[in-house]
Symmetry: C2
Subunit: 366 residues, 2 copies
């Protein structure tokens, strides 16, 4: 086997594949990269059994066939420090010899027999979507998912294809985020991807320069394909709750407020709220929203901001972190807060733009 490639291409593909590397594994091969050299192609693969990546490396020269595993940690560090523009790979017995400039690495390899197959989903439903659009949708919902891995049905993002729309939904039981966009596929289906898989999705979208990505679902696995790289993820075998039930249908109070003003006001009241109560009271009357937080040990803070209000006056309390999280994902200068009453969920959404809603449960008033 002999391979000649640019050092940059080698580094890029190792970095892309490394995100699927098993961090702690009982199987040593899973902490390594599979090198597959066959029919003039060179693939670098990694998997932690939940997600898998198969990256094709563009090479100036590929000869011979080979299949072996390279220790993950060493390879990741090594590709970052190779001195020359070009790198040559060859085998000396069980050693992978990596030569670049006046530097020679001889790395002990492992046999590939135990490396699991990362077969991609070959049939099933598929659609193409704008990379940056999907990236944005993921970013707008992923933070709302439960971080506890034992809450299997909430520790991820729910994907729904419905009436020509792709809808992503995440919830941890206290709040829910929903983003939707039109796609060119009229089929009806849905699946749940774990938070870990979703981070892999983000990684793929973030690392590709391709304007679009193909998503494929075969009932068991989801794959994302961009030019040289295929990423495969297992779907979670758990039922996502019926999210439609928590979205209010009518509202009694509507507040329009500047996003920046609300963000800064929340920063101020959180100085006190973060010292114990984790609760901020919103007192809405006429065109004023007053944010109040008290701590028995440290004192209190009162902060007032101007808003436009329609409907009834209201006093309601929230965990301020849950509001801050949503504001970060809203791109408009002004936003709507839609309320029913002090015990019902509040809906936050950008002003006059559809496609994103955020639902947050209030805290019981003391």
């Amino acid at each position: 086997m002999k391979i000649v490639t640019t050092t940059l291409e080698l580094k890029d593909k190792v970095t892309i594949a490394s995100k699927a590397l098993a961090k702690k594994s009982v199987k040593p091969v899973l902490a390594g990269f599979l090198f597959e050299v066959k029919n003039g192609n060179f693939f670098i693969c990694a998997t932690d059994l939940e997600t898998g990546v198969k990256a094709s490396v563009n090479c100036a020269e590929i000869s011979g066939d080979a299949r072996f595993v390279v220790p993950g940690d060493v390879l990741q560090k090594l590709v970052k420090v190779l001195p020359d523009e070009t790198t040559e790979l060859s085998l000396e017995g069980d050693n992978l010899v990596i030569t670049s400039g006046s530097t020679v690495f001889r790395i002990t390899t492992m046999p590939a027999d135990e490396f699991p197959d990362i077969a991609p989903a070959e049939s099933g439903i598929s659609f193409e979507i704008d990379t940056s659009l999907l990236e944005e949708m993921v970013e707008k919902v992923i933070f709302a998912a439960a971080t506890d891995e034992f809450m299997r049905n909430l520790n991820g993002v729910f994907w729904e294809l419905h009436k020509g729309f792709l809808r992503l939904v995440a919830s941890d039981g206290f709040r829910l985020a929903l983003a939707e966009e039109q796609i060119e596929n009229e089929e009806e289906t849905n699946f749940l991807l774990s938070l870990k898989s979703m981070k892999e999705v983000q990684n793929v979208l973030n690392n590709t320069t391709e304007p679009t990505v193909v998503v494929r679902y075969d009932g068991r696995r989801v794959s994302l394909t961009t030019n040289d790289v295929e990423t495969v993820m297992r779907v979670v075998d758990a039922e996502f709750p019926d999210y439609r039930r928590v979205i209010p249908e009518t509202f009694k109070t509507k507040v329009v407020v500047s996003k920046k003003s609300l963000q800064e006001s929340l920063k101020r009241v959180m100085v006190i709220a973060s010292k114990g109560s984790e609760s901020v009271k919103f007192e809405i009357e006429e065109n004023t929203m007053r944010l109040v937080s008290r701590s028995p040990d440290y004192g209190e803070v009162i902060d007032e901001l101007e808003v436009q209000k329609e409907g009834e006056d209201l006093i309601i309390a929230f965990n301020p972190k849950f509001i801050v999280d949503a504001l970060r994902r809203i791109e408009t200068e002004e936003l709507e807060m839609n309320f029913v009453d002090s015990t019902s969920p509040c809906q936050i959404n950008p002003l006059d733009i559809s496609g994103y809603i955020y639902i947050v449960m209030p805290i019981r008033l003391a």
Copy 2:
């Protein structure tokens, strides 16, 4: 009591004083700032008993006298989020009322009785030194100190005034760094400051815009004074070892090498060295220095670089981290490595510039 000041000045002085705040303290007052309003002056003080800071706050208006303690964590966060350019402080019973724009904080204070006195060193030896020069000297030696707090005599930096020079020395037993500069003081003295105090020294130098700083030592405490802020530190009551004994007087091999080339070569060999041995062999012959590292599990790396050599050929091994640490502090493009033999300390210093030397012990060759 009533105080009016700019929000920025309040924030700056709280931030400066906060570095002396006790992180975990049995005494709650030490986790707070002392506010001292007296004779038209407003001081913010903090101390963890080892170091103390007394910062004078410039105010547009100061009236009344008061002395109380404000919770540290809340105040630090609060001063960063005040909305208006101006902030007003007043007292309502035991509450400090902080008003800025349409935000009002009422913070519970604590009595100041238990707050320890942070009296500065008033007499003793003192000298003035260029702020950036002292900052540079500290940066060049502090990393070589022992990080273990139980090694009291090495867990700090030794200051020596000798024949019109200020010399700073730090060592952890494996390596030693020494920086010296001329000062305008002919007195002979020395003292040891703990690593924690030295970080406070760095903080002071880093945060002042004053071109010079006054250092004062009274036998028990050291103080650094810049315009509005006095920082007091206790010296360590332990004997720093006789560092002169470890500095070699003559050498048998001298290597001149490009700092950048050596840094990059070390990065490469550390990929393997960091997987167990923490050892790199330097093979010096003619005008070549070959860096070699081997790991029984992962393989080996050989890296060659060009050098200028005088004297004998040599094979010697080092922990590469100890060399990397020194290179970061050398500002010249080329540096000298001066050797006696494979078991004696090596001296690294900038090429043709005095004022900084670094001594590192070799590792026994396998």
